[in-house]
């Protein structure tokens, strides 16, 4: 096969899978959770959201602490260590909380979703469901998608709050930055509608994209053990790249002055 043919084939394959995933998302979202669907959704919320809490909390704490430490070393060189609270809060709310939470989410929850759905497909549970007249999109896919969409912003809030607490711990309790100027500078520079809400908006977008990629990779994989392992890897790689790329675009749209 000539290189040109293989390039064309790859491009067409990529476009085709993009189109399939869009149709898949539209079909799955048309099924809003009903009475029984809510129970399924709650169950997925528990596995996707609540169980991701420890890793998000620990990462948030350490990232908040390390920003405070690094920021203090730079800012104290200018005698501006009072601005530490502002720096910790803004970098967490605008960038680090949505992005790092989404990356952790892709690694922890996304890969699990892909593997679970992929194994269901490989063991032909999905086709048996269709056989007995249960729509797998409604029964399996839709609750997982909605659980991912809802839990991602909540996890991001946790990340920010715990990160700011970690920054407070290092900045105020350890390095001795004045408590009043830590909170005061933070409050005078953070704008709720701009900083907090734009961070939330980012996390909603990331939640949709990462969950979509994870669930679609599981649903669309080649039903072999090798296919499952490839799809799981693709979830983490594509999910992380999509988050990082979208983050730049969203930041340029939200905070860029043009």
């Amino acid at each position: 096969m000539s290189p040109l043919t293989s390039l064309g084939q790859k491009t067409l394959d990529a476009l085709e899978s993009l189109g399939r995933s869009a149709i898949f998302l539209a079909q799955a979202l048309c099924h809003l959770p009903r009475a029984e669907g809510v129970r399924l959704w709650l169950r997925q919320m528990y596995f996707v959201g609540v169980m991701s809490l420890p890793i998000v909390a620990v990462s948030g704490l350490f990232i908040g602490m390390v920003i405070a430490l690094q920021g203090y070393l730079v800012l104290s060189g200018f005698g501006a260590d009072e601005a530490l609270g502002q720096m910790v809060a803004l970098s967490l709310l605008r960038e680090l909380a949505p992005v790092v939470t989404a990356l952790l989410f892709a690694g922890r929850a996304g890969s699990a979703l892909t593997a679970e759905i992929g194994l269901m497909k490989a063991t032909e549970q999905l086709s048996s469901m269709e056989m007995i007249g249960v729509d797998p999109l409604r029964r399996v896919i839709s609750p997982r998608l909605w659980a991912g969409f809802v839990s991602m912003p909540i996890l991001t809030v946790f990340f920010s709050v715990i990160g700011i607490a970690g920054g407070y711990l290092v900045g105020v309790d350890w390095l001795g930055v004045d408590q009043g100027s830590f909170w005061g500078n933070m409050q005078s520079s953070v704008v709720f509608m701009d900083d907090v809400m734009n961070g939330m908006l980012k996390s909603v977008v990331f939640g949709v994209v990462v969950t979509w990629i994870a669930v679609f990779q599981g649903y669309d994989l080649v039903p072999t053990s090798e296919g499952i392992s490839r799809a799981t890897t693709r979830t983490v790689v594509f999910g992380s790249l999509a988050v990082l790329g979208l983050d730049f675009i969203l930041t340029a749209l939200m905070f860029g002055e043009f």
């Binding site: 129970r39 609540v50 709310l93 909540i154 809030v157 409050q187 907090v196």
Partner: protein, 153 residues
């Protein structure tokens, strides 16, 4: 059934804690105080140089924060910076007609804010009125320039 109950409680606690976290981000981190709704007394002031004042900068009286700057624009008639601020109405009602507004700096290089001080005139400023007596920002470069040109004389 028992396990399902536990699971539902876990999810409920998760969502509730997320909401509380958002409230924390609103109140403690962004400083959205519930009492801010009372800051609805509008005063304008013109400055020949606003030097780094921003929207949402503090307005103080005797060092106590009493309001925020809500709008900064160029007055097309006088080509001066025109500032709109909202302050506590019980403070605003006590501002006399000859009150002064000056742009101050927290520390040598810190943030700029407005300091109000009241005068002795019997007439009070009305809501939406303008403070006439203003003192512009102290611009470090201009001071250094003056100092250097005085030295070289």
């Amino acid at each position: 059934m028992k396990r399902s109950k536990w699971l539902e409680t876990g999810v409920g606690a998760f969502v509730l804690a997320g909401f509380l976290g958002l409230v924390f981000l609103g109140l403690q981190v962004s400083g959205l105080a519930p009492g801010q709704a009372e800051q609805n007394f509008t005063v304008h002031a013109n400055f020949s140089n606003i030097g780094g004042l921003k929207e949402r900068s503090r307005v103080t009286m005797a060092g106590v924060t009493v309001g925020r700057i809500t709008d900064i624009e160029l007055d097309p008639q006088w080509l001066e910076g025109r500032i709109t601020m909202k302050i506590d109405s019980d403070v605003g009602e006590k501002l006399s007609e000859d009150s002064t507004a000056s742009i101050l700096t927290a520390g040598l290089l810190g943030e700029k804010y407005i300091g109000l001080s009241t005068g002795g005139a019997p007439e009070m400023i009305k809501d939406g009125g303008t403070i006439r007596d203003t003192q512009s920002a102290l611009v470090l470069e201009e001071l250094i320039q003056q100092f250097v040109s005085n030295m070289s004389k």
